[in-house]
């Protein structure tokens, strides 16, 4: 604590950030909670309906569960690409002696591009008429039978809308994990190697435990980002065909701004927050316990 501070100065410095935070984040959370107990279309009077929205969401809305399952698939694909891919590539990158800085920048490039541009890009990448890069690549590799309109095939569309999101942040997680790997003391690895540990053992017994705190943070980041993932599926397919690529987030958005069912949309958005909190809780539970 600063010796010469006054109560007033604390208030002066704390008030602007608190006001901003309250207006943009805290108040809307409270409002969403309140709205979730009402039925309201924005025009007629608000009607208190208690838990009816929650009951409908959890027991009477098959579309909601469909979107929840899709969201889990979306999260899984993002995590495999971002965390799995990121960790593998970061480990490989740590063996490079030259060009690391350039490669880091190149990996991060897609993160700079707007999601709208990425959606355009992948619409072309997946297209079959005219034949886009993905289908051309399959043809060149002799997998011509696998060519398809990736975004209108119900079996592939979820993967097709998830992959771009995973792709765009691989570089971000690679760079973070790579920075963490560089902090692992060389002597530890050398000592283990002299004791006969193989590459896999060095990774699981020394490197990974050492970077576990960072792994924890990146897991939380990647999972919560994927749980709120919205832009690319919304722009690429708008949930279609049918509901095969509808996520909880896009469903909530449509409920709010297409069907103008503000009450039910708020219920779903509360669910999205709960999802994130539960996910963070689970990650802490799993990764913290192993650390002991």
């Amino acid at each position: 604590m600063l010796p010469s501070r006054s109560k007033l100065s604390v208030v002066v410095f704390l008030l602007p950030p608190l006001l901003l935070y309250a207006a943009a984040v805290l108040l809307p959370i409270v409002q969403s909670l309140v709205l979730s107990f009402f039925s309201w279309d924005g025009i007629s009077d608000m009607q208190f309906i208690g838990l009816a929205n929650y009951r409908h969401m959890l027991t009477g809305d098959p579309v909601f569960w469909r979107t929840f399952a899709n969201q889990l698939g979306y999260v899984a694909i993002c995590l495999i690409l971002q965390l799995g891919g990121g960790l593998v590539v970061a480990s490989l990158l740590a063996t490079l002696t030259r060009g690391r800085e350039v490669i880091k920048v190149l990996y991060l490039l897609p993160a700079v591009i707007s999601t709208v541009a990425i959606a355009f890009l992948f619409q072309r990448v997946y297209s079959i008429d005219p034949v886009g890069p993905l289908n051309t690549l399959l043809d060149v590799l002799g997998l011509g039978g696998q060519e398809r309109p990736w975004l209108s095939d119900v079996h592939t569309v979820l993967v097709a809308v998830s992959a771009p999101e995973g792709w765009r942040f691989i570089g971000l997680y690679t760079i973070i994990l790579y920075a963490a790997l560089l902090t692992v003391p060389r002597e530890l690895e050398e000592a283990a190697r002299l004791d006969g540990a193989n590459q896999w053992q060095i990774f699981t017994r020394i490197r990974f435990p050492f970077i576990r705190p960072v792994w924890l943070t990146t897991s939380i980041m990647a999972t919560t980002y994927a749980l709120r993932g919205f832009d690319i599926p919304y722009l690429l397919t708008n949930g279609g065909p049918g509901q095969s690529s509808e996520l909880v987030t896009t469903y909530m958005y449509k409920t709010a701004f297409t069907s103008t069912d503000y009450g039910y949309a708020s219920t779903i958005s509360v669910f999205i927050v709960v999802e994130c909190l539960v996910a963070v809780g689970l990650i802490l539970l799993v990764l913290r316990r192993k650390a002991v």
Partner: protein, 303 residues
């Protein structure tokens, strides 16, 4: 062994390998591993960069060439027609100006509020500072979707819908927790003695903020601005929800206009527009990537 740390020799080639093993194979082991890892690293570079190169090449292609040609082929002829069509069709300049206003406004709010909050929490300190800090930090994981419906309703009540602040407030508010976190962790490194000495010389909290904390924060400010600019410049969800009129559209919304606006999508012009709108941020990123990469790394590793 220790002279070849960076090549990570296969352990099977060292201790566990029987002495009768072929020495040639033992030598090939590490090389194979090395070659394979190089190949994977460069394949990923291609995967990350090629799509953007492809967009750029397409933006220079003739329309007919694009419709019929092999997507991997180089353009048969280069043309800047797409760019003139891109500018003629949309209000690209308008979109870019709007994005600049929103990005600058949000960054200003984030930096000022972030520094003030971190200063109050980390330097001044007060009784419930830990509770307040926790309240801010929770914001890092709060999904933006929760704010869409309430803000839409509130904005329409106070006539803020379809204005710059309608985008700036939530963009800054949701970025604030991370900014406070980054500034706080940096302020933690400024030695307490600096502040105590200034206090003894009679400097109050405002003067100390202006003369010591602010000048020292420049690097962190660059980092915070870089990281946030990327997300704000590219923000789609807030703009799409709160902006209704065409002359307030930011780049992501403006780009959407290119789709289907002419019945059939003019892809080459669309990609030209993408190139134009991506360029400013890309240039800043290529120049300041060190600050940004540092920010991303420290944001996650200092926790």
């Amino acid at each position: 062994m220790s002279t070849r740390i960076l090549t990570r020799p296969q352990p099977s080639a060292t201790r566990s390998a029987p002495p009768a093993g072929q020495p040639a194979a033992a030598r090939r082991g590490p090389n194979l591993y090395r070659v394979l890892s190089r190949v994977i690293i460069w394949v990923l570079v291609v995967v990350q960069v090629y799509p953007l190169v492809w967009v750029f090449l397409t933006s220079l292609r003739d329309e007919r060439d694009f419709a019929s040609g092999n997507p991997f082929g180089l353009p048969s002829s280069l043309t800047l027609d797409n760019y003139s069509r891109a500018f003629a069709h949309g209000h690209l300049g308008r979109y870019i100006a709007n994005s600049l206003i929103v990005t600058l406004g949000s960054n200003l709010l984030i930096v000022v509020c972030g520094m003030m909050g971190a200063y109050a929490l980390q330097v001044l300190g007060f009784r419930f500072s830990n509770a307040v800090r926790a309240m801010f930090l929770v914001g890092i994981i709060v999904p933006v979707q929760i704010a869409l419906v309430p803000l839409f309703i509130d904005y329409s009540k106070i006539n803020l819908l379809d204005t710059y602040p309608s985008m700036i407030i939530p963009l800054a508010g949701f970025a604030l927790p991370m900014a406070i976190y980054l500034f706080s962790s940096f302020y933690g490194y400024i030695p307490r003695e600096t502040y105590e000495a200034a206090s003894l010389d009679g400097a109050g909290p405002y003067r100390i903020f202006a003369r010591i904390t602010l000048p020292l924060s420049v690097n962190t400010i660059v980092t915070v601005v870089m990281v946030n600019s990327i997300f704000i410049w590219n923000d789609f969800i807030f703009a799409n929800t709160f902006v209704l009129s065409d002359n307030l559209k930011t780049i992501p919304l403006g780009l959407q206009n290119y789709i289907g606006a002419m019945g059939k999508t003019d892809w080459t012009a669309t990609f030209a527009a993408v190139c134009v709108t991506v360029t400013p941020l890309l240039l800043v990123f290529l120049v300041l990537n060190r600050a940004m990469i540092y920010g991303l790394e420290s944001g996650a590793t200092k926790g």
